[in-house]
């Protein structure tokens, strides 16, 4: 199992969510976050005065999926989250050791 963390533009979130659902990826945890990448945010210019906007609002999605689904998730987020401009975000894939359900005693351990 893998944890896919995707940090995307807030206005792209609805489209990404719908596209993932179409591929059968429904479960996710969503957080409103702020961040910056290589561009260090945006700097606006006002008649010589610069107004730095350091941290820009983003949406963070966290999804735990089986290994074969990782590629689908990454491709879908890319396809529906992209504008081609700076600030489109990142996708991070991490290994998951186990997931345990709270409602039941069920525990699923990642296979080799």
């Amino acid at each position: 199992m893998k944890m896919v963390v995707a940090i995307i533009r807030p206005e792209k979130f609805d489209g990404v969510k719908a596209a993932l659902a179409e591929k059968g990826i429904v479960g996710m945890t969503v957080t409103e976050v702020k961040g910056r990448g290589e561009q260090k945010g945006i700097s606006l210019q006002f008649r010589g005065r610069s107004v730095p906007v350091d941290l820009i609002p983003k949406i963070k999605l966290e999804m735990v999926v089986d290994d074969p689904e990782v590629e689908t998730v990454v491709a879908t987020v890319r396809a529906h989250g992209r504008t081609g401009k700076f600030g489109d975000g990142r996708i991070i894939v991490m290994p998951v050791e186990a997931i345990a359900k709270v409602r039941t005693d069920e525990t699923e351990v990642s296979g080799p």
């Binding site: 206005e11 792209k12 609805d14 489209g15 945006i42 606006l44 107004v51 906007v53 820009i56």
Partner: protein, 398 residues
């Protein structure tokens, strides 16, 4: 007629009530935009109030209510309130000036609907000054200041033509010039704070009692009639819109308060001429008309963002025509179609048509000129970051 202290105290209170409508519009609109533009939306209403206050006392009042020049505009005899004194007929002339000022201010605030989330503050200040001077002041003069509309006998009790048609159709023209928001129609631009919108709507409803009842310019029976029909029309509009939207889905609270404002906008011109039952009919029809106008706007892909046109414009037109149908001689001294006077309806059609044409074409040209001269719109990057930060350097979140 000497000064009347009862009338004076009543109009003082009404003036303060109507003032509260301008920040009310700010809250109403502020809740409907995305969070990054809340401060901007609220601030635009305060800017509108401040700009119009200065414009109005310097020359706006005189252009609207000074001695008639050719039926088109007032003279500059009251420049900087020269000769506008503490005495008057019933109420002090100064108080009448102030009462009219708060109307002009809320009208400009309503227009900010068209430019939500994308206007440059500096361009709005220039546009607002020109719009109030070149569109609002002449219309106010035509209907209320002794201009050609009042000569013909076209009626507008509290501002269906002057306030709502001018703001609604002006907003439509302005939206066409400034263009759609980036991403309009592609991704969700849902309201970020509905309770704030409801609070703004509540302040509007509250202030509207001063708006309409105060337009009797005296604490008398006509004011009481205006007060009662205003409330009935608002309630009928709220329920009608809610019912119409319920059929298509859920009865949203934003729809309900929008319906109330549609009912309020429609009864405004008619409040001094129609009775309670007519007010209920006017409100119901307004709620339905304005709701379908909103659906039409969305279908056409028009980004008149917060529906000044669908609600104020369409509601104002309907109310202006409704005078010609429902007016009762026993209330305002004028009969409508139902009492057998078709002539008034024809006059109202002329008045509404002329106001639509003047407000739409005039605002379109004015917006084009301001756009060419200084640019109405922020850059795409500023729009993305939001106007709170890009225009004011402030943010809702820490």
């Amino acid at each position: 007629m000497a000064l009347d202290t009862g009338d004076t105290s009543f109009i003082l209170i009404c003036t303060a009530l109507v003032m509260l409508m301008t920040p009310g519009v700010g809250l109403f609109y502020g809740g409907l935009v995305r969070r990054k533009n809340l401060i901007s939306m609220f601030a635009l209403s305060f800017v509108a109030f401040s700009v119009v206050t200065i414009q109005w006392f310097l020359f706006g009042y005189s252009l609207a209510f000074g001695t008639d020049v050719g039926g088109l505009i007032g003279s500059l005899e009251f420049f900087a309130l020269t000769g506008v004194g503490m005495d008057g007929e019933g109420i002090p002339d100064l108080l009448f000036m102030a009462f009219q000022l708060v109307f002009a201010a809320v009208t400009l605030a309503i227009i900010t609907s068209a430019v939500a989330e994308r206007i440059r503050l500096s361009a709005f200040i220039v546009f607002g000054l020109l719009w109030t001077t070149l569109i609002y002041d002449p219309l106010a003069h035509w209907v209320w200041g002794g201009g050609w509309m009042s000569e013909l006998g076209i009626l507008d009790f509290a501002g269906g033509i002057v306030v709502h048609i001018s703001a609604g159709f002006g907003a439509l023209a302005l939206a066409l010039v400034i263009g759609r928001r980036v991403g309009f129609g592609q991704y969700s631009m849902d309201p970020h704070n509905i309770p704030m919108t409801l609070l703004g709507g509540a302040l509007l409803w509250f202030g509207w009692f001063g708006f309409n009842a105060g337009s009797a310019l005296a604490a008398n029976g006509l004011a009481a009639n205006a007060f009662v029909v205003t409330n009935i029309s608002a309630a009928a509009g709220a329920l009608a819109w809610m019912a119409a939207s319920w059929i298509r889905g859920k009865p949203s609270s934003v729809g309900m308060i929008s319906g109330a404002i549609a009912g309020l906008g429609a009864i405004t011109p008619a409040a001094g001429f129609v009775g309670p039952l007519s007010a209920a009919i006017i409100g119901v029809i307004s709620g339905l008309f304005c709701y379908y106008a909103l659906l039409f706007r969305i279908r056409r892909g028009l980004d008149e963002s917060l529906d000044a046109w669908a609600i104020h414009g369409v509601g104002g037109v309907w109310g202006t025509l409704a005078i010609g149908v429902f007016a009762v001689a026993g209330i305002g001294g004028i009969s409508g179609l139902i009492e057998g006077n078709a002539g008034q309806l024809i006059l109202q059609v002329i008045g509404a048509g002329a106001a639509i044409a003047y407000a739409f074409v005039g605002t379109y040209l004015l917006a084009k000129i301001v756009d060419l001269a200084m640019g109405l719109r922020v850059s795409e990057e500023e729009e993305y970051v939001g106007l709170d930060i890009s225009q004011h350097g402030e943010s809702v979140q820490v």
